[in-house]
Structure formats: structure tokens, C-alpha cells
Symmetry: C2
Subunit: 419 residues, 2 copies
């Protein structure tokens, strides 16, 4: 463990805990999710911006000086290949919407094709330090795939609890990665509870999103990449950038917020970005609190085509809300049909997003209409996962293909008819 990591702070009551108190997960007093505390002074003494950006490591591990773990090793594995994802400049969308500084950060380039690899990798680095051999989580989606894939790549054992109603295809991916997959004849909450109980009884390390303070620490590396490649890389220092993030459990947006807080407190970032959370109308628990103007996150009965952000009770709702309220951002709601349109619009830039990945872009479009952002402002849109994860939704996003007879005459007729 490095000296830079000094303890935790509860996101609900503000109580701080030192490392000596041996807390693994949430606040003992109120169950609030914990923020990891870093010794910024120590980090500043040891590192300068130039030390970070000059590294040859092309993964999230280039930001090791700002992470609460020591170098985990694992060179030449998928684990070591997470992050430092592509930042695309989508020419046509830039013209279409009149935004001259518009980027799409494509997290589908991660080893298991979603943003969640960042959290799983960091949790596994932590597991190595505390000598936990088994890491467990409840999930059937990207988080489970990410934990299974990352654990496999470093020889760690992963146990995934999922409701037996989980789609077989998603379960297959977990099994290919060699995870112990336990399907529970019950609902997701029962699988979740069983994962917590198993962690407690067997001494397994629990990765559950938000509940484990290190998930957000892994996810914050995306903020570091935006800072290095987009803010510094394009010398953006006259106005804050606007970041659009799809929100389900809320842990991605809170991780990104934490990353920028780290940079700001280090004095390495002049202007705090504005962070916009985008939720599906059918899964709007955090947005509801934003609109109500309070910090009370009530559960909903979620239903949206964007399965990765379909959440009844967000596991990191409070911090997710504050990511927007504390940065002059906003929460934005989009309909499923707007999400499908967004898939098609990103597709014609060569970017294939799953529904939850395209939700952020749908939110960007709505933010323009709501006058929340202006064309001269820089914008970063996060695609959180690959469209290959949900081909069925992709099929709903586009019209069917045309069928012709196998003759040149038929082709001519077809082309003329299209004119």
C-alpha cells in the first residue's frame, strides 16, 4: 500500500476513517458509500503533470500515482490493457449540431468491451494487496463480464451471482471467462443479498458497485484520460468542458466526478467540467431527485431498452446526483426511441454503441434543445459499451435492408427507385 492512500470519507455523514480502522466497504454508521481519501500534498511532492503525461504505459495504469493501490504488475494481460480508450472526433455530428469541439470517448475498446473493466481491474489490484483470493459480485451484465474477464486474465477466482432469469447469452460470456457462475432461483435482489452474505461468510472480497469504494477509483481514470488527451491535448482552458454520461447505478458518473476532484485538488485542473447525467425515462431515480431539488433517491420500477442502466434503486445514487449538482451540470431524461436514434447517429460515425452507451448522446441532443449547452462549448460524450453486447436493440434502431432479385436489371431498378 502506498502512503498516498490515507483513508475514507463517508459520502452521507462526512465521517472520516483512517486505514487503521480496517473498513472494507461502506460507512459503519449509516451505510453510506465511502470516498477514497488521497494525500494530495504527498502526491504533489512526488509528481508533476509532466511525469504523468510522459509515461509510455498506454492503459489506465499510467495514472498509478493517483490511484490508491501499488503497481499490481500483470504485464501483457487484458487487465493491463484497460483504459486509455480512443477519443473520436465525429466530423458529421460536429457539423450537424454545430459543435466545433465535440468528442466521443469510446469505452467499447476495453478488453471486455465496456467501461466496467476499469472498476474491475482496480478492485482486483486491491484484492491482490489485501490477499483476497476470491472476488465476488452480483451482476449479469457488463460488471459481471468485466470482473470475470479481468479476474481470468490475472489468475484470480471470480464468483458471479445472477438471477436464473438472466439471458443465457450473457451467462455464456461469464462462463467462457471461467468464472464460477451461480444462478439463483429468485430475483436480482436475492442474488445481491446472497453475494454479500457469501462475501462475509467466506472472506471473499465483494466488488459490488458503489458498495466497494474502489469501483469509483477505477472509473475515475476515464476522467484522467479526458483531462490529459482532451483538455490538455487541445489546450482547453477558457471554458469548462461538458461531459455527458449515461446513468444507472450512478457509479460511472460518480467515479468521473471523483477523478476531476482529484485533479482539481492537486491544482492540475483549472476549470471543473460540467457533468451531465443522462437517464432513460423508464429508469429515472436519480433524475427524479435532481428535479425535486433534494438528495432523496426513491426507488422506481425500472423499464428501458437500455438494460445496463435499468435500475430500480441506484447503488451510488447520492454521489451520482452530486456529480451534476456540484459541477453546474444537470440531469436529463431521454425516451427509449431517442436512445435508438442515438445508436443510429453514432453508427454513421463508425461507432457502435449498446443502448446504454448511446443514451449519453441522446442526452447531448436534448441538452442542446433545452439550451443547457452552447455550440462554442467543448463537449465529451461517453460511449460506455459495445453495440455487439445487444444486437437485438441495434436491429430496432435501423430500418430493414432491401431485398432484390440476383440480376443486374433488378439492381438498376432498385437504384433508380431510390433516386
Amino acid at each position: 500500500m502506498e502512503e498516498k492512500f490515507i483513508g475514507y470519507e463517508c459520502s452521507v455523514c462526512g465521517q472520516e476513517y483512517s486505514l487503521n480502522e480496517n473498513i472494507d466497504y461502506v460507512c459503519p454508521k449509516d451505510g453510506g458509500n465511502l470516498n477514497v481519501l488521497l494525500d494530495y500534498k504527498e502526491i504533489k511532492n512526488k509528481y508533476q503533470i509532466s511525469d504523468i503525461v510522459s509515461q509510455t504505459e498506454i492503459s489506465m495504469w499510467r495514472y498509478l500515482p493517483l490511484l490508491p493501490v501499488s503497481d499490481p504488475g500483470y504485464e501483457f494481460t487484458p487487465f493491463r490493457n484497460v483504459g486509455y480508450t480512443a477519443n473520436y472526433f465525429p466530423t458529421n455530428l460536429s457539423k450537424k449540431y454545430g459543435f466545433k469541439q465535440l468528442w466521443v470517448k469510446d469505452e467499447s475498446k476495453n478488453p471486455t468491451a465496456s467501461f466496467k473493466d476499469r472498476a474491475s481491474a482496480l478492485v482486483l489490484a486491491r484484492a491482490k494487496e489485501i490477499k483476497a483470493d476470491v472476488v465476488v459480485t452480483a451482476s449479469t451484465g457488463n460488471a459481471g463480464a468485466a470482473l470475470a474477464g479481468m479476474a481470468a486474465s490475472v489468475g484470480h477466482k471470480a464468483v458471479i451471482f445472477a438471477p436464473k432469469t438472466a439471458p443465457v447469452a450473457k451467462v455464456a460470456q461469464l462462463l467462457v471467462f471461467g468464472a464460477e457462475v451461480i444462478l439463483v432461483d429468485g430475483n436480482y435482489d436475492q442474488a445481491f443479498d446472497l453475494s454479500l452474505r457469501a462475501a462475509e461468510e467466506f472472506g471473499w472480497y465483494c466488488r459490488n458497485t458503489g458498495f466497494n469504494p474502489f469501483t469509483a477509483e477505477g472509473k475515475k481514470t476515464a476522467a484522467f484520460e479526458i483531462w490529459e488527451s482532451i483538455i490538455i491535448g487541445n489546450k482547453i482552458n477558457d471554458k469548462p468542458i461538458n461531459i455527458f454520461v449515461s446513468v444507472g447505478d450512478g457509479n460511472i458518473i460518480s467515479g468521473i466526478h471523483k477523478g476531476f476532484i482529484d485533479l482539481y485538488k492537486l491544482g492540475w485542473l483549472d476549470l471543473m467540467p460540467r457533468i451531465f447525467g443522462v437517464q432513460a425515462e423508464g429508469s429515472a431515480a436519480i433524475s427524479n431527485a435532481f428535479i425535486a431539488g433534494n438528495e432523496i433517491i426513491n426507488p422506481v420500477s425500472a423499464s428501458t431498452i437500455a438494460d445496463s442502466i435499468s435500475v430500480d434503486l441506484p447503488r451510488d445514487g447520492l454521489r451520482a446526483l452530486r456529480a451534476s449538482t456540484q459541477t453546474n451540470g444537470s440531469y436529463i431524461l431521454v425516451e427509449d426511441k431517442e436512445i435508438l436514434s442515438a445508436i443510429a447517429e453514432l453508427g454513421v460515425e463508425g461507432i457502435f454503441a449498446e443502448p446504454a452507451g448511446a443514451t449519453s448522446f441522446a442526452g447531448f441532443k436534448k441538452a442542446i434543445n433545452l439550451d443547457l449547452i452552447q455550440p462554442d462549448e467543448p463537449v465529451v460524450i461517453l460511449n460506455t459499451g459495445s453495440g455487439l453486447k445487444d444486437i437485438n436493440s441495434a436491429m430496432k434502431a435501423v430500418p430493414e435492408a432491401n431485398i432484390i432479385d440476383p440480376t443486374f436489371d433488378a439492381l438498376i431498378s432498385y437504384i433508380n427507385a431510390k433516386k
Copy 2:
């Protein structure tokens, strides 16, 4: 066009053609696929190895000095993000098979999640130079997705012909990328013929694999990466490395061969690698010629779970055969069940391969049994595509998950039963 690109040479009759002869595709005399000729002397005068490996570009475009196109631009697009894929060192497999120098090159990290992006990107760079606005291909698989995705990312128009029996899910990906998808009420050969006719009549540029000399030129960049990252990176100079490549049409293996030929002729590579082609038993056209000891590629009636290498008549068979015969390599056949096992074995290293992607690893295992390679020899195995492209096959590769009641007692019983 740069001076380094000086013409073509027919792979069948050896006839050379200068650029003045304005040949776009195959040999006018016998229809043989054409090798691109480079002026190695000119390249050596202008560049040294250190110029190549010191570049900051982290994509296949770092090898521009060795490619037959000028810099196409297109910065910050998926097009510019192709290649420079991860080389993993699979610890467990290394121990299991006793090979201390074993790498898996993971092409699923490309923007459309397959090796084919390399060819499509280079063909589009060529299309830009010859001012062809529309690029056409016949394909429903990875090549089509790669052309559609790459074309979208640079604002080029792509037309894809496919038989109407093509899986809707694959067609959906083409449509999301905004390609003009024309389904033909006929078989694949009819779609192929129609694509050629359309290219000729409308002046569209035809990407068809092998038929277009630039597909292999794009694919050769994987050889450059193996050379730079594995051969130079690990100072391997006492024995040739052994490269395992899945083979369908044969254009990937012939592209990789071409890459090493370029390096060898430049004097930048001391030992030519041994190249092993791996085919499914149900799609063995090239392997049959290898076994027969001649260069006659007879069509087969192909049937294998590995759809990306299921090919009746390979479009680049001759050059694919020579990639092994001229490098002291071999062709190896594997059964579908061996391909499924290979998916599971790669999975537990955190690498998720489609069946065609895992076929190369199945071939590596067989090569050990056949005594074709020894444990002290360096090995590179190519995973050509993401397992997310074929979830159904993944499900066949692993046993089903267990189901338990949602109680802790049930979990205990399950764990005890497994002991």
C-alpha cells in the same frame, strides 16, 4: 501516391505491372491475385528501423513508410484507431503447454472487433487517393462490418451485397454503420458476382478480399506489429518465431506473409518466421493442397462452426498456401469440437474469441502433438475476432451454469457438493 509504391506482380504468372498500366485488381492475363511491389531501396534510403519504432502513432498507421499509400489523414476516427493491438502473454497456457515464449495477439481490440479493419482501412486510404467515392464489397461477416464501420468513420459511402439468408443480426451491424445494404434473393456467389458487376458499371471501388491487392497490404501491418513488439521487443534473434493463423479465404495469412517479406527484403528482419495455417476440417480447401503437395486449390463444400473461415473456394488460396510452404510452416486441420475447447481455454485467460479466432489456438495445440514445434521456440497465436460476434457458439463451448435456491443453506450445500 508515394514513390515507394512502384507496381504489381502476379502471384500466378509472375508478370510485373507498372503503375502506368492502371490495373486496379487482378492480373489481366490469368486473373491471379496481385502482390504490391515496393521500392525497398527507396524506403531504406529514407527510413531506418528507429524511425519506425519511435513513432507516437499507436495504430497500424505507424507503419505508413511501408504502406503503398500516402498519409490519409482522418485523425481521431475509428479508421485511425485500427491496429497496434494488444499482445498478451497467457501465463496459465504458457505453463500448461510448457512454452515460455507464448503470445496471443488480440485483434478483437480493433474498432469493429475483428482483424478485417486493417484491410478495410487500407482499401479506403487507396480509395481516397484514386478519388473513388463509393466502395463496394460482398460479405455478411467481419469484412462487411469492417468496411461499413471504417467507411462510416471517414465519411465514405459503402455498399454491401449479401445473400438474403444472411443472419439478421449481422445485417443489423452493417445497417447501424449506415452502409447501403442490398440483400440478394440468391446465394453468396450471386451476391459476389453482382458486387463485381456493380463495381464495373458504376465505377465503384471493389474491396473484395484478395481480388483487391490492397487488402493484403492492410493485413500485413499485423506482421509489422509482431516484428516490432514481439521480435524486437523481446530480442528474439536466435530462432524463428512460429505464427498460428486461422485460414478461410486465406487473405490474412497471405497478408502476414507479405509483411514479413517486406521486412526481410529491407534487411530489417534476420529470420523469417514459420507461418502455420489452421483450417477447420469442414473447410479445408487450402490444407488439402498442402497435403497433396501441389498448388491446386479445389473447392470444397464447406461446413464448420467457425463461420468466418467457412469457405468453399478460398479467394486467396495460392498465396495462403505459399505463406506456409515458403516459410517452413505447415497447414493444420482441427475439428469443430477442438475449436470450441480452444474458446474455453482462451477464455480463462480473459480473451474472448469467436470460433474462427480460437481456431488458431486449436492448431497450436495440435502442432505440439504433431511435434511440429518445440517448447523452446517462440509462438504467436492470432485471435482474429471477438467472441461477442458469435455468442451462440460461446454457449456451446462451456457447460451450463448451476442453479440454486436463493438461500444461504442452498449455497453451502452447493459449495460442499463441488468439493
